[in-house]
Symmetry: C2
Subunit: 358 residues, 2 copies
């Protein structure tokens, strides 16, 4: 009946090491190590079936788990992957990260994540902190299309790939955002809507750049070029989308469609429309991007471009694993699909002439 000692660390009561196993099984610690690791293969160093059995049994009975620090110190591999995202509070990035985490676990890697808030200074600091933990590789979800950050990491010898956003000359797992923009544009054009505005998003994110380009190009090719002043850049969350839409409406332009490169901006736009006495999906078509779960169940369900974000995260890990195996994988580009809902489908042909406040 001793007072239970206060352990300074996690579940450290047991402290079963290779030595414990070796002693109980009556073999050398190196033998245990070999058995536990090279279950199969390693023709050079075999153990007799009985020994293998015995060691395996003992290890299981004692609930042995290898010490990650010791293993990592010796092997020079941490089995860690560092992940940097703009913010985890964006459900899209959170979903991507869940995919990363699942795939990483499947491959025996653990991950840790931090957010850069798309702030260059913070990005440097967070990256330094992460690298100090010696990950085997990094995944960057916050690539700035125009920064030299990635180039510098590469030069340092950091192994990494990108996710969500791409950048010229770097390995990435993304969706075909240009195609997504096209899909949105085609959908609107099919509905006979030719007066569109674009809430384009962050001008340094390939997602915003590509989606906007796909959309704008398609409209132009259809003979309906979108005026420059109707393509707005900025950090568009719901509040931002609302404000941007307000400013467009205030300018009194002819308009019957809005394309936002993310759903939250689109929701904000719907709010601005309502304030102006217009009904999204009836007077003005609104189309978002990412198809977050929320969008389907909004009061006015939102038309959006779906991408497989969880899968994207998983693909990024597959790239990393291949990289770590010395392979030379190619970037992954997932296909987006359009999900049509009330926010565009309700706009009748009669309204196609466009709404103008002027």
């Amino acid at each position: 009946m001793s007072i239970p000692e206060v352990l300074p660390s996690g579940a450290r009561g047991s402290r079963v090491t290779l030595r414990t196993i070796a002693e109980t099984a009556g073999v050398h610690v190196s033998t245990v190590s070999r058995i536990l690791n090279n279950q199969l293969g390693d023709s050079q160093h075999t153990a007799s079936p009985e020994t293998v059995d015995r060691v395996l049994t003992v290890a299981a009975e004692l609930r042995y788990t290898p010490d990650p620090s010791a293993k990592s110190l010796r092997t020079r591999r941490s089995s860690h992957i560092g992940v940097l995202v703009p913010t985890l509070t964006d459900i899209v990035l959170a979903t991507i990260y869940e995919g990363i985490e699942d795939a990483a676990e499947r491959h025996g890697y653990s991950t840790y994540v931090t957010n850069s808030l798309d702030n260059p200074v913070r990005r440097e600091r967070q990256t330094a902190t992460m690298l100090a933990r010696h990950p085997d590789a990094m995944i960057f979800g916050d690539a700035d299309f125009h920064s030299d950050f990635l180039e510098r990491q590469r030069r340092k010898g950091v192994l990494f790939c990108l996710v969500s956003r791409r950048a010229e000359g770097f390995l990435s797992a993304t969706t075909d955002d240009y195609r997504g923009g096209q899909l949105a544009a085609e959908h609107l054009l099919n509905l006979g809507l030719i007066h569109a505005a674009v809430l384009a998003g962050k001008p340094f994110a390939s997602t915003a750049i590509d989606r906007t380009a796909g959309f704008v190009d398609t409209f132009r090719n259809a003979g309906h070029p979108i005026p420059k002043q109707l393509i707005l850049y900025g950090t568009f969350d719901t509040a931002g989308g609302r404000e941007a839409m307000q400013s467009i409406l205030a300018a009194g332009v002819n308009l019957n469609a809005v394309f936002a490169t993310n759903d939250f901006a689109a929701i904000g736009a719907m709010g601005a429309l309502r304030d102006a006495g217009l009904v999204a999906g009836a007077d003005v078509a609104v189309i978002g991007y990412n198809d977050v779960p929320l969008s389907a169940s909004l009061p006015i369900p939102l038309t959006s471009i779906y991408s497989a974000h969880n899968q994207m995260g998983q693909e990024a890990v597959e790239l990393i694993v291949k990289l770590l195996n010395g392979e030379k994988p190619a970037s992954v580009l997932l296909p987006p699909t359009l999900v049509a809902r009330e926010s565009t489908l309700g706009v009748t042909a009669a309204r196609a002439a466009g709404y103008s406040r002027a």
Copy 2:
């Protein structure tokens, strides 16, 4: 001009160790270690000011960063905190995690997070995986009010605290959810609305339990008890909230207010109201919980109960740090506040009699 060697690990080009510094500075490695660690204190083992200077300079020049594995192996402390949440795709948990991460970094800890999806089997597996990484402590954000999971962790000697959800007899950092429920109820009663339904949420989460209790108690004490069949439990995201509201409306009950214990359920409820030809905030008051950023900018801005989630995460880390310092901290309870918006404020007294489909 040699071909750059492909490094198997992070930024491992340099590989500056204590030995490197010791050799360049002409002292023993142990001296370097002591200087780098006990900048001050350790009366037993001092170094001359010149030596300290020299070593510090060399370390800085060589950009020395200690090897976490070696350090952890030797000291038996990982400086890691494991975090378990239901899901990171919930912006509330993501926000809490950001707070955790920031505070942890400030205290020299790094964190890793994983999600249990509120699935008991997965919870066990994820926890085992995390503990295998030997964290100094854990933070659980997915406490099940009725499970013995936490008790078992405690018995194993795992050091931990809870966040977001509380549980009897365990250290936690939460907001006063009962009070939050009260605030919601008082707000509605002040508006003269006495026919309310509750979308209560997960019956095993203290958040749902306490918020609902605070709300229901207040209505009862005001002389307007809420019928049992108008208190619905379940996993309420937007889609779930929509369905739940639909079923309530289908039952044709007298109703002029709805309290949802999270904003997304509330948004779903607004959708269901619209489908039924009702206007949230005009015919029926809708009040959510958490005040996620989205809520303020919805087409119909949502009244909600605000809690400081980022701060909550930080408080949880403070608790852990105290715990690791051998202190015996008390649980933290943050105060919620009500943010009134159009979704309730627009309901006129005239409507207070309540809407009934029957």
